[in-house]
Amino acid sequence: MKPAPVIGADQIALLEKLCNAVAVSGDEGEVRSIVLEEIKPIADECHVDALGNVLAVRKARQPNALKVMLAGHMDEVGFMLVDESEGGLYSFEMVGGIDVRHLPGKPVLVGRSHTAGIIGARPIHLTTAEEREHTIPLDALRIDVGPEGKAKVGDRATFATRFKQVGPSLVGKALDNRLGVATIIELFKNAPENIEFQAAFTVQEEVGLRGAKVAGYAFNPDMAFVLDSTPAIDLPMWDDSENTQYNTKLDAGPAIYITDSSTLSDPRLIRHLAETGEACGIPFQFRQPGGGGTDAGSIHRVRAGVPSVSISVPGRYAHTAVLVSRLSDWQNTVSLMYEALARLTPLTAER
């Protein structure tokens, strides 16, 4: 068996390109183009479906192989311009879950041409102490593209953060879920021969796990692994008491989901991942059971049901302008998934 792929300069360059691309839910074209460019040359089958999902297959090199779906969402949270007022000012609404407290004072990219825009705030000099006790509401904010800026109602926008590598970390917007996309691309390029590899690069995860539902139906897989990014809330409690609600921790390896608000992961797949990690000496962690959700929430309920599990690269500050993940956690995610896929047998799903 070949060793697991190594994340090097090429893989990081691809992640950078993916993170800097803009693909707000429903308008995933820019990321889709990058994905197609990477996988089309090596796919046995590849097409874009009615919602915009990229569905690609690499056939097994042996008979009676399991059909294994790997899904990762291409879309990111952002904004849509909803109203225009004079002088390049636009009201906007959220696409996906963003805390309004993260909006004031941010540069953004608007529309497919990445037009520069900013979200400002009233100068502190003109605010009252009483006013500063309240969050600045969304309807007081505007995206400002400059006095003669070109944008239009319906354009998407997102934070203008540029990707960078900092020490042990990967820093950028939309690491949720370009890390998952980049992981699947890397695994697809190094697909183990024992399985039929069904890659689904999905749309509209952030607005209701919608792309994954039809992708799961189309593939009709024997099992599904969902690759995503999950919050690492490994930060101090306000009163310095022990933080027992960290969800996941950075530097502790890929996070295996046991349950979230939309899925009970298949116990056989959880066990398979954990046993693979232990056998190969790859660190992993169990995500604390709790809220949140991934494409698995849709996939496990399509047709007569699909055994599913999610595995995420932990990341701090999900759904904000700047996310922080660790390169080591990404590498271990790729390694664990690769080894787990290579070890899959029809028995895995029967135990």
Partner: protein
């Protein structure tokens, strides 16, 4: 000749928080040096550039002050590899979550300001604005590395990249008040081609955002007959729709109120009208919020004036000004200086005053 827009972008990206202006001061001095006859640093770090006039000694002096210091943050503690903060200058904590910053530790480190997730906060704080004392910076390094490279007192600058927007606008952090430094630089460039009677002291002042330190001290050593503060003012736009805001891109403002000598105001206003330079009169019922507030009461008192450059989103990392307004402010200053007669001092008087020297 230095192109103003690239120079302004460079200034915006230079660190130089209040009290620590040296990096930006050096960048300004480099450009001013060929434009002035003498250049020096004051005892508290303000940059003084002198262009000599042509009038016989003792020559009258005009001081143009633009503060070069920036607002920002400072590290108060290092905890589990994360940095606790306080502010330098006036910062609304509600604009901080998710901001990219540069931590000036033993080396410059990129970082991001973190709003603690609600589950880590007391119940009553969830979903509310969070005090600066509960925010922190993550520099994406291991706690051991952070302890080695950062300590309390280290400065933290905003790190938004300057961006030009259609319609001649520019956005980024610290346009307050590097936009005015750019305007003064343009003024000095225009004066290269002009004979002027008065001595011109171009001042990039320090500590305006905290103490007006530069505003008090530079006029004391220079003792000008007129002192003009050039600073940014509020532009109309989201969050500013009343009389306190002036239109963006429609010209500088000319301050009027107790902090401004009416004779100087009148002279500049009449000149702007004559030259067809668009402007708005900015009424300032009390404090002008500029170096002029200090300069006016230095020594035996100095006739002052305030010129404003309208700016949106003041004290956020995405301030916005119109490049045209910078250029108009610089041009108006140069024209005013060029036209100053040696005896203009006599005209700086009160309406109800006996004509001086008569």
């Amino acid at each position: 000749m230095t192109e103003i827009t690239p120079f302004l972008k460079k200034l915006m990206e230079m660190p130089g928080l209040s009290g620590y202006e040296t990096p930006v001061s050096e960048a300004i001095a480099e450009v001013w040096r060929p434009l002035v006859d003498e250049i020096e640093i004051s005892k508290i770090g303000s940059l003084h550039g002198l262009r000599r006039g042509t009038a016989p000694e003792p020559r009258p002096r005009i001081l143009i002050s633009c503060h070069m210091d920036a607002i920002g943050l400072m590290v108060t503690a290092v905890q589990d590899g994360l940095l606790r903060l306080t502010e330098v200058g006036g910062v609304d904590p509600r604009i901080l979550p998710g901001q990219q910053v540069t931590v000036h530790g033993r080396e410059d480190l990129p970082g991001v300001i973190v709003l603690p997730p609600d589950r880590l906060l007391p119940v009553e704080s969830r979903g509310k604005p969070i005090d600066i004392g509960r925010l922190y910076v993550d520099v994406a390094l291991s706690p051991a590395e952070v302890s080695e490279k950062v300590r309390p007192g280290d400065l933290v600058s905003f790190a938004t990249t300057p961006v030009e927007l259609p319609g001649g606008a520019i956005s980024g952090h610290t346009l307050d008040n590097r936009a005015s430094v750019a305007a003064l630089t343009q003024c000095l460039q225009e004066l290269q081609h002009v004979r002027h009677a008065w001595d011109v002291y171009a001042v990039a002042s320090t500590q305006e955002e905290e103490t007006l330190g530069g505003g008090f001290t530079s006029p004391f050593s220079i003792r000008p007959q007129i002192a003009v503060a050039v600073d940014v003012t509020f532009a109309k736009g989201p969050g500013v729709n009343d009389h306190r805001g002036y239109p963006l891109g429609k010209g500088p403002t000319l301050g009027y109120g107790p902090n401004v000598h009416p004779a100087v105001h009148k002279a500049i206003k009449e000149l702007a009208e004559k030259l067809d330079i668009p402007f708005a009169v900015e009424v300032m019922p009390r404090h002008s919020g500029t170096d002029a507030y200090a300069m006016q009461i230095v020594a035996e008192g100095i006739p002052t004036m305030v010129i404003g450059i309208p700016l949106r989103y003041m004290h956020t990392p995405v301030e916005m000004v119109s490049l045209k307004d910078i250029s108009r402010a610089g041009h108006l200053l140069a024209e005013f200086i060029a036209r100053l007669e040696p005896d203009f001092v006599q005209q700086i008087r009160w309406d109800d005053e006996e004509k001086k020297g008569s």
